[in-house]
Protein backbone atom coordinates (compact mmCIF):
# COMPACT_ATOMS: atom_id res chain seq x y z
CA UNK A 1 0.00 0.00 0.00
CA UNK A 2 2.80 2.38 0.84
CA UNK A 3 4.39 1.41 -2.46
CA UNK A 4 1.17 2.42 -4.16
CA UNK A 5 1.19 5.77 -2.40
CA UNK A 6 4.81 6.23 -3.41
CA UNK A 7 4.03 5.46 -7.03
CA UNK A 8 1.03 7.78 -7.05
CA UNK A 9 3.19 10.44 -5.48
CA UNK A 10 5.83 9.84 -8.12
CA UNK A 11 3.30 10.19 -10.92
CA UNK A 12 1.81 13.34 -9.44
CA UNK A 13 5.29 14.81 -9.15
CA UNK A 14 5.97 13.81 -12.73
CA UNK A 15 2.70 15.40 -13.85
CA UNK A 16 3.70 18.58 -12.06
CA UNK A 17 7.14 18.57 -13.59
CA UNK A 18 5.67 17.99 -17.04
CA UNK A 19 2.89 20.40 -16.40
CA UNK A 20 3.26 22.02 -19.82
CA UNK A 21 1.59 18.95 -21.26
CA UNK A 22 -1.29 19.19 -18.84
CA UNK A 23 -1.56 22.93 -19.25
CA UNK A 24 -1.75 22.38 -22.99
CA UNK A 25 -4.58 19.96 -22.37
CA UNK A 26 -6.30 22.55 -20.22
CA UNK A 27 -5.83 25.18 -22.92
CA UNK A 28 -7.12 22.76 -25.52
CA UNK A 29 -10.23 22.04 -23.48
CA UNK A 30 -10.92 25.76 -23.04
CA UNK A 31 -10.44 26.46 -26.72
CA UNK A 32 -12.67 23.52 -27.59
CA UNK A 33 -15.51 24.91 -25.49
CA UNK A 34 -15.09 28.30 -27.16
CA UNK A 35 -14.95 26.69 -30.60
CA UNK A 36 -18.18 24.88 -29.91
CA UNK A 37 -19.70 28.14 -28.67
CA UNK A 38 -19.07 29.76 -32.02
CA UNK A 39 -19.79 26.71 -34.14
CA UNK A 40 -23.16 26.03 -32.53
CA UNK A 41 -23.93 29.66 -31.73
CA UNK A 42 -24.26 28.95 -28.05
CA UNK A 43 -24.56 32.63 -27.27
CA UNK A 44 -28.27 32.68 -27.90
CA UNK A 45 -31.21 30.83 -26.50
CA UNK A 46 -31.30 27.86 -24.23
CA UNK A 47 -28.03 26.03 -24.69
CA UNK A 48 -28.71 23.29 -22.21
CA UNK A 49 -29.62 20.65 -24.81
CA UNK A 50 -26.18 20.98 -26.38
CA UNK A 51 -24.13 21.42 -23.24
CA UNK A 52 -23.72 17.76 -22.20
CA UNK A 53 -22.41 16.90 -25.64
CA UNK A 54 -20.11 19.92 -25.74
CA UNK A 55 -18.69 19.15 -22.33
CA UNK A 56 -18.13 15.44 -22.78
CA UNK A 57 -16.59 15.61 -26.25
CA UNK A 58 -14.24 18.24 -24.85
CA UNK A 59 -13.39 16.05 -21.87
CA UNK A 60 -12.78 12.98 -24.01
CA UNK A 61 -10.57 14.70 -26.57
CA UNK A 62 -8.59 16.48 -23.89
CA UNK A 63 -8.22 13.22 -21.99
CA UNK A 64 -7.03 11.27 -25.01
CA UNK A 65 -4.46 13.87 -26.01
CA UNK A 66 -3.27 14.49 -22.49
CA UNK A 67 -2.76 10.81 -21.72
CA UNK A 68 -0.61 10.38 -24.80
CA UNK A 69 1.35 13.55 -24.10
CA UNK A 70 2.09 12.82 -20.47
CA UNK A 71 3.23 9.31 -21.23
CA UNK A 72 5.42 10.49 -24.08
CA UNK A 73 7.37 12.70 -21.67
CA UNK A 74 8.01 9.80 -19.38
CA UNK A 75 9.13 7.57 -22.23
CA UNK A 76 11.46 10.24 -23.58
CA UNK A 77 13.08 10.62 -20.20
CA UNK A 78 13.67 6.90 -20.07
CA UNK A 79 12.19 6.73 -16.62
CA UNK A 80 9.35 4.47 -17.65
CA UNK A 81 11.63 1.64 -18.74
CA UNK A 82 13.62 2.08 -15.55
CA UNK A 83 10.46 1.78 -13.52
CA UNK A 84 9.42 -1.39 -15.32
CA UNK A 85 12.76 -2.98 -14.55
CA UNK A 86 12.36 -2.20 -10.85
CA UNK A 87 10.80 -4.79 -8.54
CA UNK A 88 7.59 -2.78 -8.30
CA UNK A 89 4.51 -4.75 -9.38
CA UNK A 90 3.40 -3.51 -12.83
CA UNK A 91 -0.18 -3.32 -11.61
CA UNK A 92 0.90 -0.85 -8.94
CA UNK A 93 2.76 1.16 -11.57
CA UNK A 94 -0.38 1.30 -13.65
CA UNK A 95 -2.70 2.26 -10.81
CA UNK A 96 -0.28 5.00 -9.83
CA UNK A 97 -0.36 6.40 -13.34
CA UNK A 98 -4.12 6.03 -13.43
CA UNK A 99 -4.70 7.96 -10.22
CA UNK A 100 -2.35 10.74 -11.25
CA UNK A 101 -4.02 11.07 -14.66
CA UNK A 102 -7.42 11.00 -13.01
CA UNK A 103 -6.57 13.82 -10.64
CA UNK A 104 -5.08 15.94 -13.42
CA UNK A 105 -8.10 15.36 -15.68
CA UNK A 106 -10.56 16.13 -12.88
CA UNK A 107 -8.82 19.45 -12.34
CA UNK A 108 -9.10 20.27 -16.05
CA UNK A 109 -12.75 19.23 -16.15
CA UNK A 110 -13.60 21.22 -13.05
CA UNK A 111 -12.10 24.29 -14.65
CA UNK A 112 -14.21 23.70 -17.76
CA UNK A 113 -17.34 23.32 -15.66
CA UNK A 114 -16.66 26.66 -14.01
CA UNK A 115 -16.02 28.23 -17.39
CA UNK A 116 -19.22 26.81 -18.87
CA UNK A 117 -21.24 27.87 -15.83
CA UNK A 118 -20.13 31.44 -16.39
CA UNK A 119 -20.35 31.48 -20.17
CA UNK A 120 -23.73 29.83 -20.48
CA UNK A 121 -25.41 30.81 -17.24
CA UNK A 122 -26.18 27.20 -16.33
CA UNK A 123 -25.75 25.72 -12.89
CA UNK A 124 -23.19 23.00 -13.51
CA UNK A 125 -21.58 22.67 -10.12
CA UNK A 126 -24.20 20.49 -8.48
CA UNK A 127 -23.11 17.43 -6.50
CA UNK A 128 -25.02 15.18 -8.87
CA UNK A 129 -23.29 16.53 -11.93
CA UNK A 130 -19.91 16.46 -10.25
CA UNK A 131 -20.55 12.84 -9.35
CA UNK A 132 -21.39 12.04 -12.96
CA UNK A 133 -18.20 13.73 -14.11
CA UNK A 134 -16.18 11.77 -11.56
CA UNK A 135 -17.53 8.37 -12.57
CA UNK A 136 -17.38 9.21 -16.25
CA UNK A 137 -13.76 10.28 -15.96
CA UNK A 138 -12.84 7.11 -14.11
CA UNK A 139 -14.52 5.29 -16.98
CA UNK A 140 -12.36 6.76 -19.69
CA UNK A 141 -9.06 7.43 -17.96
CA UNK A 142 -8.24 3.75 -17.53
CA UNK A 143 -8.57 2.89 -21.23
CA UNK A 144 -6.82 6.06 -22.42
CA UNK A 145 -3.96 5.47 -19.99
CA UNK A 146 -3.61 1.86 -21.13
CA UNK A 147 -3.72 2.79 -24.81
CA UNK A 148 -1.21 5.58 -24.22
CA UNK A 149 1.30 3.18 -22.67
CA UNK A 150 0.72 0.76 -25.53
CA UNK A 151 1.21 3.34 -28.25
CA UNK A 152 4.63 4.34 -26.95
CA UNK A 153 6.82 3.58 -29.90
CA UNK A 154 4.50 3.77 -32.86
CA UNK A 155 4.83 6.58 -35.37
CA UNK A 156 1.87 8.80 -35.96
CA UNK A 157 0.55 7.82 -32.58
CA UNK A 158 -0.82 11.23 -31.69
CA UNK A 159 -3.46 10.98 -34.36
CA UNK A 160 -3.89 7.25 -33.88
CA UNK A 161 -4.73 7.59 -30.19
CA UNK A 162 -8.17 9.17 -30.64
CA UNK A 163 -8.91 6.76 -33.49
CA UNK A 164 -8.21 3.83 -31.19
CA UNK A 165 -9.75 5.18 -28.01
CA UNK A 166 -12.94 6.92 -29.05
CA UNK A 167 -14.87 4.02 -30.61
CA UNK A 168 -14.23 1.98 -27.48
CA UNK A 169 -15.51 4.86 -25.37
CA UNK A 170 -18.82 5.38 -27.16
CA UNK A 171 -20.87 3.66 -24.43
CA UNK A 172 -19.24 5.95 -21.91
CA UNK A 173 -20.00 8.98 -24.04
CA UNK A 174 -23.63 7.95 -24.42
CA UNK A 175 -24.07 7.32 -20.71
CA UNK A 176 -22.24 10.46 -19.61
CA UNK A 177 -24.04 12.79 -22.01
CA UNK A 178 -27.45 11.38 -21.15
CA UNK A 179 -26.80 11.40 -17.43
CA UNK A 180 -25.53 14.96 -17.57
CA UNK A 181 -28.56 15.94 -19.61
CA UNK A 182 -30.87 14.27 -17.13
CA UNK A 183 -29.26 16.09 -14.24
CA UNK A 184 -29.83 19.35 -16.09
CA UNK A 185 -33.48 18.48 -16.42
CA UNK A 186 -33.36 17.63 -20.11
CA UNK A 187 -34.75 14.17 -19.77
CA UNK A 188 -36.49 11.83 -17.42
CA UNK A 189 -34.15 9.83 -15.27
CA UNK A 190 -30.46 9.49 -14.56
CA UNK A 191 -31.04 5.90 -13.47
CA UNK A 192 -30.20 3.76 -16.51
CA UNK A 193 -27.40 6.11 -17.57
CA UNK A 194 -25.75 6.04 -14.17
CA UNK A 195 -25.95 2.27 -14.31
CA UNK A 196 -24.30 2.28 -17.73
CA UNK A 197 -21.59 4.65 -16.49
CA UNK A 198 -20.82 2.60 -13.42
CA UNK A 199 -20.78 -0.67 -15.34
CA UNK A 200 -18.47 0.86 -17.93
CA UNK A 201 -16.18 2.41 -15.31
CA UNK A 202 -15.90 -0.89 -13.48
CA UNK A 203 -15.36 -2.90 -16.67
CA UNK A 204 -12.81 -0.54 -18.21
CA UNK A 205 -10.78 -0.15 -15.03
CA UNK A 206 -10.74 -3.90 -14.45
CA UNK A 207 -9.80 -4.66 -18.05
CA UNK A 208 -7.05 -2.05 -18.12
CA UNK A 209 -5.55 -3.11 -14.79
CA UNK A 210 -5.60 -6.78 -15.80
CA UNK A 211 -4.14 -6.23 -19.26
CA UNK A 212 -1.42 -3.71 -18.41
CA UNK A 213 1.13 -6.28 -17.15
CA UNK A 214 0.74 -8.24 -20.38
CA UNK A 215 1.14 -5.04 -22.38
CA UNK A 216 4.49 -4.13 -20.86
CA UNK A 217 5.99 -7.59 -20.47
CA UNK A 218 9.48 -7.72 -21.88
CA UNK B 1 -41.31 -6.00 -59.24
CA UNK B 2 -40.91 -3.14 -56.85
CA UNK B 3 -37.57 -2.07 -55.47
CA UNK B 4 -35.72 -4.40 -57.78
CA UNK B 5 -33.12 -1.77 -58.61
CA UNK B 6 -32.12 -1.72 -54.94
CA UNK B 7 -31.85 -5.48 -54.90
CA UNK B 8 -29.62 -5.35 -57.94
CA UNK B 9 -27.52 -2.58 -56.39
CA UNK B 10 -27.10 -4.54 -53.16
CA UNK B 11 -25.91 -7.72 -54.83
CA UNK B 12 -23.75 -5.75 -57.27
CA UNK B 13 -22.01 -3.92 -54.44
CA UNK B 14 -21.34 -7.20 -52.63
CA UNK B 15 -19.89 -8.99 -55.66
CA UNK B 16 -17.89 -6.00 -56.84
CA UNK B 17 -16.34 -5.55 -53.40
CA UNK B 18 -15.62 -9.26 -53.15
CA UNK B 19 -13.89 -9.36 -56.51
CA UNK B 20 -11.85 -6.25 -55.88
CA UNK B 21 -10.79 -7.66 -52.53
CA UNK B 22 -9.85 -11.04 -54.02
CA UNK B 23 -7.92 -9.52 -56.91
CA UNK B 24 -5.94 -7.16 -54.66
CA UNK B 25 -5.23 -9.97 -52.22
CA UNK B 26 -4.03 -12.32 -54.96
CA UNK B 27 -1.84 -9.59 -56.42
CA UNK B 28 -0.28 -8.88 -53.05
CA UNK B 29 0.28 -12.58 -52.36
CA UNK B 30 1.96 -13.06 -55.71
CA UNK B 31 4.26 -10.09 -55.25
CA UNK B 32 5.18 -11.30 -51.77
CA UNK B 33 6.00 -14.78 -53.10
CA UNK B 34 8.20 -13.24 -55.79
CA UNK B 35 9.96 -11.18 -53.17
CA UNK B 36 10.50 -14.27 -51.02
CA UNK B 37 12.08 -16.10 -53.96
CA UNK B 38 14.29 -13.15 -54.76
CA UNK B 39 15.47 -12.78 -51.18
CA UNK B 40 16.08 -16.49 -50.78
CA UNK B 41 18.23 -16.45 -53.89
CA UNK B 42 20.24 -13.58 -52.52
CA UNK B 43 20.73 -15.42 -49.30
CA UNK B 44 21.88 -18.53 -51.12
CA UNK B 45 24.35 -16.43 -53.12
CA UNK B 46 25.79 -14.73 -50.11
CA UNK B 47 26.19 -18.09 -48.41
CA UNK B 48 28.21 -19.24 -51.43
CA UNK B 49 30.69 -16.42 -50.90
CA UNK B 50 33.76 -17.39 -48.87
CA UNK B 51 33.71 -14.38 -46.60
CA UNK B 52 31.37 -11.51 -45.91
CA UNK B 53 32.15 -8.24 -47.70
CA UNK B 54 34.86 -6.45 -45.80
CA UNK B 55 35.17 -2.76 -45.41
CA UNK B 56 38.56 -1.09 -45.76
CA UNK B 57 39.23 1.81 -43.47
CA UNK B 58 38.26 5.09 -45.05
CA UNK B 59 36.24 3.38 -47.70
CA UNK B 60 33.29 2.80 -45.46
CA UNK B 61 31.02 5.01 -47.54
CA UNK B 62 31.80 3.41 -50.89
CA UNK B 63 31.46 -0.07 -49.41
CA UNK B 64 28.17 0.93 -47.89
CA UNK B 65 26.85 2.33 -51.15
CA UNK B 66 28.21 -0.72 -52.96
CA UNK B 67 26.27 -3.14 -50.84
CA UNK B 68 23.04 -1.19 -51.00
CA UNK B 69 20.86 -2.28 -53.86
CA UNK B 70 17.98 -0.37 -55.39
CA UNK B 71 15.26 -0.82 -52.84
CA UNK B 72 12.63 -3.44 -53.21
CA UNK B 73 8.90 -2.64 -53.29
CA UNK B 74 8.50 -0.59 -50.16
CA UNK B 75 5.17 -1.40 -48.63
CA UNK B 76 4.63 -4.27 -46.27
CA UNK B 77 0.91 -4.06 -46.74
Amino acid sequence: MSVLMAVVGKDLQLAWRNREGWLSAMAFATIAVLTYSFAFDLATGDVRPLLPGVLWTTFLFAGVFAAGQSFQDEVDDGTFDALLLSPVDPTVIFIGKLVANLIALLIIEFAQLILATILFDVGLLTPQLLGIVLIGTIGYVSLTTLLATMGGHVRGRSVLMPVLALPLLIPLLIGAVRATGASLGLEAGTGPWMLLLMVFAAWSTLAAVLLFPTAVEQ
Amino acid sequence: MENIEYLFAGFAVFWAALFIYLLTLQARLRSLHREIERLEERLAESEGKPAPRSRTVGNASSAASGSAEPSAPPANS
Binding site: P171, W203 | F11
Partner: protein
Protein backbone atom coordinates in the same frame (compact mmCIF):
# COMPACT_ATOMS: atom_id res chain seq x y z
CA UNK C 1 1.84 -34.17 -31.26
CA UNK C 2 -1.39 -35.79 -30.29
CA UNK C 3 -3.89 -37.26 -32.73
CA UNK C 4 -6.11 -34.19 -32.71
CA UNK C 5 -3.24 -31.91 -33.68
CA UNK C 6 -2.27 -34.27 -36.50
CA UNK C 7 -5.86 -34.37 -37.72
CA UNK C 8 -6.14 -30.60 -37.63
CA UNK C 9 -2.88 -30.24 -39.50
CA UNK C 10 -4.17 -32.64 -42.16
CA UNK C 11 -7.42 -30.71 -42.51
CA UNK C 12 -5.44 -27.49 -42.73
CA UNK C 13 -3.33 -28.85 -45.58
CA UNK C 14 -6.44 -29.72 -47.58
CA UNK C 15 -7.94 -26.26 -47.23
CA UNK C 16 -7.11 -25.06 -50.74
CA UNK C 17 -8.65 -28.17 -52.21
CA UNK C 18 -11.80 -28.03 -50.12
CA UNK C 19 -12.59 -24.41 -49.40
CA UNK C 20 -12.84 -22.74 -52.83
CA UNK C 21 -15.25 -25.28 -54.35
CA UNK C 22 -17.39 -25.48 -51.22
CA UNK C 23 -17.57 -21.72 -50.96
CA UNK C 24 -18.26 -21.38 -54.67
CA UNK C 25 -21.03 -23.97 -54.77
CA UNK C 26 -22.65 -22.68 -51.61
CA UNK C 27 -22.55 -19.09 -52.86
CA UNK C 28 -24.19 -20.15 -56.13
CA UNK C 29 -26.84 -22.01 -54.21
CA UNK C 30 -27.41 -18.97 -52.05
CA UNK C 31 -27.78 -16.69 -55.06
CA UNK C 32 -30.24 -19.00 -56.77
CA UNK C 33 -32.14 -19.40 -53.56
CA UNK C 34 -32.17 -15.72 -52.75
CA UNK C 35 -33.07 -14.45 -56.19
CA UNK C 36 -35.26 -17.19 -57.53
CA UNK C 37 -36.39 -19.86 -55.13
CA UNK C 38 -37.27 -17.85 -52.06
CA UNK C 39 -40.77 -16.47 -51.99
CA UNK C 40 -41.32 -12.79 -52.49
CA UNK C 41 -41.95 -10.81 -49.39
CA UNK C 42 -45.21 -8.96 -49.62
CA UNK C 43 -44.53 -5.77 -47.72
CA UNK C 44 -41.03 -4.90 -48.82
CA UNK C 45 -40.84 -6.38 -52.27
CA UNK C 46 -37.78 -7.69 -53.99
CA UNK C 47 -35.26 -5.72 -51.97
CA UNK C 48 -36.01 -7.90 -48.98
CA UNK C 49 -33.96 -10.59 -50.70
CA UNK C 50 -30.89 -8.69 -49.56
CA UNK C 51 -31.58 -10.27 -46.20
CA UNK C 52 -29.90 -13.44 -47.46
CA UNK C 53 -26.66 -11.49 -47.84
CA UNK C 54 -27.05 -9.07 -44.97
CA UNK C 55 -27.91 -11.39 -42.08
CA UNK C 56 -25.36 -14.16 -42.75
CA UNK C 57 -22.68 -11.52 -43.28
CA UNK C 58 -23.50 -9.99 -39.92
CA UNK C 59 -23.30 -13.29 -38.07
CA UNK C 60 -20.11 -14.33 -39.86
CA UNK C 61 -18.61 -10.93 -39.13
CA UNK C 62 -19.10 -11.54 -35.40
CA UNK C 63 -17.50 -14.95 -35.80
CA UNK C 64 -14.53 -13.39 -37.59
CA UNK C 65 -14.01 -10.78 -34.90
CA UNK C 66 -14.43 -13.47 -32.28
CA UNK C 67 -11.71 -15.45 -33.98
CA UNK C 68 -9.51 -12.36 -34.01
CA UNK C 69 -9.96 -12.11 -30.26
CA UNK C 70 -9.25 -15.84 -29.85
CA UNK C 71 -6.12 -15.59 -32.00
CA UNK C 72 -5.06 -12.55 -29.98
CA UNK C 73 -5.39 -14.49 -26.73
CA UNK C 74 -3.42 -17.38 -28.25
CA UNK C 75 -0.75 -14.94 -29.40
CA UNK C 76 -0.39 -13.42 -25.96
CA UNK C 77 -0.19 -16.92 -24.49
CA UNK C 78 2.14 -18.63 -26.97
CA UNK C 79 4.02 -15.60 -28.32
CA UNK C 80 3.91 -17.23 -31.75
CA UNK C 81 3.72 -14.65 -34.56
CA UNK C 82 1.57 -17.04 -36.60
CA UNK C 83 -1.31 -16.20 -34.28
CA UNK C 84 -0.71 -12.52 -34.98
CA UNK C 85 -1.04 -13.29 -38.69
CA UNK C 86 -4.26 -15.20 -38.04
CA UNK C 87 -5.66 -12.36 -35.93
CA UNK C 88 -4.91 -9.82 -38.64
CA UNK C 89 -6.25 -12.14 -41.31
CA UNK C 90 -9.62 -12.64 -39.73
CA UNK C 91 -9.81 -8.96 -38.77
CA UNK C 92 -9.44 -7.97 -42.43
CA UNK C 93 -12.22 -10.34 -43.44
CA UNK C 94 -14.30 -9.17 -40.50
CA UNK C 95 -13.93 -5.54 -41.55
CA UNK C 96 -14.81 -6.51 -45.12
CA UNK C 97 -17.96 -8.31 -44.00
CA UNK C 98 -18.77 -5.42 -41.69
CA UNK C 99 -18.61 -3.04 -44.63
CA UNK C 100 -20.90 -5.37 -46.56
CA UNK C 101 -23.39 -5.46 -43.69
CA UNK C 102 -23.43 -1.67 -43.60
CA UNK C 103 -23.68 -1.33 -47.38
CA UNK C 104 -26.44 -3.92 -47.82
CA UNK C 105 -28.18 -2.52 -44.77
CA UNK C 106 -28.16 0.99 -46.21
CA UNK C 107 -29.31 -0.18 -49.65
CA UNK C 108 -32.05 -2.27 -48.08
CA UNK C 109 -33.01 0.61 -45.84
CA UNK C 110 -33.42 3.26 -48.49
CA UNK C 111 -36.64 1.97 -50.07
CA UNK C 112 -37.96 0.72 -46.75
CA UNK C 113 -37.14 3.53 -44.35
CA UNK C 114 -36.79 6.25 -46.94
CA UNK C 115 -33.26 7.00 -45.81
CA UNK C 116 -29.94 5.23 -46.18
CA UNK C 117 -29.16 5.59 -42.51
CA UNK C 118 -31.62 5.72 -39.68
CA UNK C 119 -29.37 5.27 -36.65
CA UNK C 120 -31.00 1.90 -36.11
CA UNK C 121 -29.38 0.38 -33.02
CA UNK C 122 -27.94 -2.69 -34.73
CA UNK C 123 -26.50 -0.87 -37.72
CA UNK C 124 -25.02 1.79 -35.45
CA UNK C 125 -23.32 -0.89 -33.38
CA UNK C 126 -22.01 -2.41 -36.60
CA UNK C 127 -20.60 0.95 -37.60
CA UNK C 128 -18.79 1.27 -34.28
CA UNK C 129 -17.36 -2.22 -34.73
CA UNK C 130 -16.19 -1.22 -38.19
CA UNK C 131 -14.33 1.71 -36.67
CA UNK C 132 -12.79 -0.34 -33.88
CA UNK C 133 -11.38 -3.06 -36.11
CA UNK C 134 -10.32 -0.66 -38.84
CA UNK C 135 -8.38 1.14 -36.13
CA UNK C 136 -6.91 -2.21 -35.06
CA UNK C 137 -5.72 -2.93 -38.59
CA UNK C 138 -4.41 0.59 -39.04
CA UNK C 139 -2.47 0.59 -35.79
CA UNK C 140 -1.06 -2.86 -36.47
CA UNK C 141 0.03 -2.07 -40.01
CA UNK C 142 1.92 1.06 -38.98
CA UNK C 143 4.46 -1.25 -37.37
CA UNK C 144 6.30 -3.97 -39.30
CA UNK C 145 4.95 -7.51 -39.79
CA UNK C 146 7.43 -8.94 -37.31
CA UNK C 147 7.15 -6.23 -34.66
CA UNK C 148 6.28 -8.33 -31.65
CA UNK C 149 5.58 -5.43 -29.36
CA UNK C 150 3.14 -3.91 -31.81
CA UNK C 151 1.54 -7.33 -32.23
CA UNK C 152 1.14 -7.58 -28.49
CA UNK C 153 -0.49 -4.18 -28.24
CA UNK C 154 -2.78 -4.94 -31.15
CA UNK C 155 -3.78 -8.21 -29.50
CA UNK C 156 -4.71 -6.42 -26.30
CA UNK C 157 -6.67 -3.85 -28.26
CA UNK C 158 -8.55 -6.60 -30.10
CA UNK C 159 -9.43 -8.28 -26.82
CA UNK C 160 -10.70 -5.03 -25.30
CA UNK C 161 -12.65 -4.40 -28.49
CA UNK C 162 -14.42 -7.72 -28.39
CA UNK C 163 -15.17 -7.36 -24.69
CA UNK C 164 -16.63 -3.93 -25.38
CA UNK C 165 -19.12 -5.30 -27.95
CA UNK C 166 -21.91 -6.26 -25.54
CA UNK C 167 -21.58 -2.97 -23.69
CA UNK C 168 -21.69 -1.04 -26.96
CA UNK C 169 -24.79 -2.95 -28.04
CA UNK C 170 -26.55 -2.31 -24.76
CA UNK C 171 -25.68 1.37 -24.66
CA UNK C 172 -26.63 2.06 -28.28
CA UNK C 173 -29.93 0.26 -27.84
CA UNK C 174 -30.69 2.32 -24.73
CA UNK C 175 -29.61 5.42 -26.61
CA UNK C 176 -32.14 4.70 -29.32
CA UNK C 177 -35.04 3.44 -27.26
CA UNK C 178 -34.98 5.52 -24.09
CA UNK C 179 -35.54 8.40 -26.43
CA UNK C 180 -38.54 9.05 -28.68
CA UNK C 181 -38.07 7.46 -32.03
CA UNK C 182 -39.66 8.58 -35.28
CA UNK C 183 -39.10 5.44 -37.33
CA UNK C 184 -39.36 1.89 -36.12
CA UNK C 185 -38.20 -0.93 -38.32
CA UNK C 186 -40.38 -4.02 -38.06
CA UNK C 187 -39.36 -7.41 -39.34
CA UNK C 188 -41.70 -10.31 -39.70
CA UNK C 189 -41.02 -12.27 -36.55
CA UNK C 190 -41.81 -15.60 -38.10
CA UNK C 191 -40.20 -16.31 -41.44
CA UNK C 192 -41.85 -18.88 -43.71
CA UNK C 193 -40.01 -22.18 -44.16
CA UNK C 194 -38.59 -21.59 -47.62
CA UNK C 195 -37.03 -18.36 -46.48
CA UNK C 196 -35.44 -20.08 -43.53
CA UNK C 197 -33.90 -22.71 -45.78
CA UNK C 198 -32.39 -20.12 -48.09
CA UNK C 199 -31.18 -18.20 -45.06
CA UNK C 200 -29.48 -21.35 -43.78
CA UNK C 201 -27.84 -21.88 -47.16
CA UNK C 202 -26.76 -18.26 -46.98
CA UNK C 203 -25.12 -18.85 -43.60
CA UNK C 204 -23.22 -21.84 -44.93
CA UNK C 205 -22.18 -19.94 -48.05
CA UNK C 206 -20.93 -16.81 -46.34
CA UNK C 207 -19.27 -18.83 -43.61
CA UNK C 208 -17.43 -20.99 -46.14
CA UNK C 209 -16.48 -17.90 -48.12
CA UNK C 210 -15.18 -16.19 -45.00
CA UNK C 211 -13.17 -19.25 -43.96
CA UNK C 212 -11.53 -19.34 -47.36
CA UNK C 213 -10.83 -15.59 -47.32
CA UNK C 214 -9.40 -15.75 -43.81
CA UNK C 215 -7.06 -18.55 -44.89
CA UNK C 216 -5.91 -16.49 -47.88
CA UNK C 217 -5.43 -13.34 -45.87
CA UNK C 218 -3.60 -15.15 -43.06
CA UNK C 219 -1.26 -16.76 -45.58
CA UNK C 220 -0.62 -13.31 -47.02
CA UNK C 221 0.27 -11.96 -43.58
CA UNK C 222 2.58 -14.94 -43.04
CA UNK C 223 4.25 -14.25 -46.40
CA UNK C 224 4.78 -10.63 -45.36
CA UNK C 225 6.35 -11.84 -42.13
CA UNK C 226 8.66 -14.13 -44.12
CA UNK C 227 9.70 -11.28 -46.40
CA UNK C 228 10.46 -9.15 -43.38
CA UNK C 229 12.52 -11.91 -41.79
CA UNK C 230 14.43 -12.60 -45.02
CA UNK C 231 15.18 -8.93 -45.53
CA UNK C 232 16.56 -8.69 -42.02
CA UNK C 233 18.73 -11.74 -42.62
CA UNK C 234 19.99 -10.46 -45.98
CA UNK C 235 20.87 -7.11 -44.41
CA UNK C 236 22.56 -8.90 -41.56
CA UNK C 237 24.65 -11.06 -43.90
CA UNK C 238 25.64 -8.32 -46.26
CA UNK C 239 26.54 -5.76 -43.66
CA UNK C 240 28.30 -8.12 -41.28
Amino acid sequence: MNALAILLARVYEWRWVVLPPVAGVAMMAMIVGALVAAPREIIEGEVQRLMYLHVPSAVTMYAAFGFTAFASVMFLWKRDMRWDAAARGSAVVGVFLCGMVLATGAIWGKPIWGVYWSWDARLTTTLILFLIYSAYLLARSVAGPLDEQAARFAAIFAIIGVADIPIIQMSVRWWRTLHPQPIVFQTNPALPGEMLIVLLIGFIAIFALATWLISLQTDTERAAQRVSALRAEVDHREIA
